[in-house]
Structures are given as structure tokens and as C-alpha cells.
Amino acid sequence: MEENLKTCGVISPEEFINCKGWPSDERFLKGPVAILECIEEIPCNPCECSCPKGAIYVGHPITNLPTLDESKCIGCKSCIASCPGLAIFVEDHTFSDKEALVSFPFEFIPFPKKGEKVSAVNRKSEVVCTAVVHDIYCAKSNDSTMIVTLRIDKQYVHQVRSCKMLEA
């Protein structure tokens, strides 16, 4: 059976073509940038309101897919916690020659700690590589959605979307 978002919960490469929230290859080389993995028409627009640079557009009707204006996006991560679907990530390909940073929302305890070694997982929860927790961010306005940033081998940057839940 075809594996796609509606058959198994994981967006397929073909479905990503319709995604308006995916930056160009050139933009990734310029610095941190948001990725909006939102491909279904659900009435929803908190991401649009959350961006301080106006880089996310939904408009009306609010079922429109969010579009990323990559020239305005500075990769500040304000949008990550705003998404009720936890479908927004930030990648930074410019961290170093060999390493990249990936930021994602995380809502489990124990929370990861800065400097901790964790298992980085892909959209299917498969362990892709080990990673170091580069940064964690908890703001009251994010209401318990922690933003975790992992330092990983650059070749895995488009795959890593979370880390394995940690042992209590």
C-alpha cells in the first residue's frame, strides 16, 4: 500500500512537493530557516500570527496551507511552539562544515538537558544518529512546549525531526 500521510502518518517525498513551507536549497545555505511541514487544509493560522517578521502567510480562508517567505525568515524559532500540530521545525546548515542544527518541539518528560547525548529520530521514530543537545528553550508563552535544538551530522539534517524520549 502507498505510504503517505493518510495511510501511515508520515509525509511522503511526493507530498512534500505540494508543501509551501519548504525553503529552497539556496536559502538553507544562508542560515537558520523554518520548515512548515503542513500539507493539509485544516482551518488553522497561529503560525502566521506568531512570526515577528511576517514570513508566514496563511490569509483567508484559514484553511490555506501556510507559505514561507524564505527571504523574510530569520530562523528565530518563534513559530515552532505556536503550531498546534507540532509540524514546524528549524534547520541551520551553517553551524559548521560537518554539522547542522535541527530544532523541534518536545513535550515529554524528562526534558533533555543542554549538552546531553540523545538518539535523534526521523519521522518514523527510527534512530538516525546520535546527537548532542545544543540548546533547550522554555518560554512561558510557549506553554510547556519545549524547543530542543540538536547538533547532528549534516547528512541527516532533513531526516531528524525529534529525539527519542528519555528514560525517567
Binding site: E107, F108, I109, F111, D143, S144, M146
Partner: protein
């Protein structure tokens, strides 16, 4: 199992513990929590047995609508344990069939 710490809801206070009796056995719970919660925290999932086939029943809806979770509480049968708050000294008994006023021991 109690969910003491939670990433969204924070930690629960276990300060107001009370002692209750379940089928004669002493058990601890938190004052005011539903009886069914105390039972589940103590790994008790069978609340009653049906009248004809003596089959075990427990929580189904957990919001006081289905009556699958009823037990005899302080001598009163058919008490919905999922919406009845726990009190110090409560006597809780597994109900058989439609139960008995005064409790199983009164039969």
C-alpha cells in the same frame, strides 16, 4: 499508576492522603479524587461482577454516564465510583449483581 509528574500539567500534590477500606483491606488514596482513580492507582480494575454470568466489569466511560464502574460505597450499592470523591474512612466493596444495601457483609 499515578501520573505524578507531567510535561504539560505539572506535578500533583499527594499531601491529602486518606485511608479507606476496599473489601476489608486498608488502602491509601488522595482525598477528593474519584474512587475509581484510587483503585486504578492501586492496580484494582475490577469493580463488580454481573448478576447472571458473574463477569468482571470496570471503568468504561469514566464520566459517570455508563454505570459500568459501580460499587457498594459505605453500604450504598450502585455508586458510580468514577465521579464519587474519596473520603477518609470510606468503605468500598466489590458489587455482585445489583448489590445490597448495607454492603455485601450484611447479606
Amino acid at each position: 499508576m499515578r501520573v505524578i509528574a507531567h510535561p504539560i500539567l505539572g506535578n500533583i500534590s499527594q499531601e491529602n492522603e486518606v485511608t479507606v477500606y476496599v473489601d476489608g483491606k486498608e488502602m491509601r488514596g488522595i482525598e477528593g479524587e474519584p474512587i475509581a482513580a484510587m483503585l486504578a492507582a492501586n492496580r484494582i480494575y475490577t469493580h463488580r461482577f454481573t448478576k447472571k454470568r458473574h463477569e468482571p466489569r470496570g471503568i468504561f466511560c469514566a464520566i459517570g454516564r455508563c454505570t459500568d464502574c459501580v460499587m457498594i460505597v459505605d453500604g450504598i450499592p450502585n455508586v458510580r465510583t468514577c465521579v464519587t470523591p474519596l473520603k477518609e474512612g470510606m468503605v468500598i466493596e466489590t458489587q455482585h449483581g445489583v448489590g445490597h444495601w448495607g454492603g455485601e457483609k450484611s447479606v
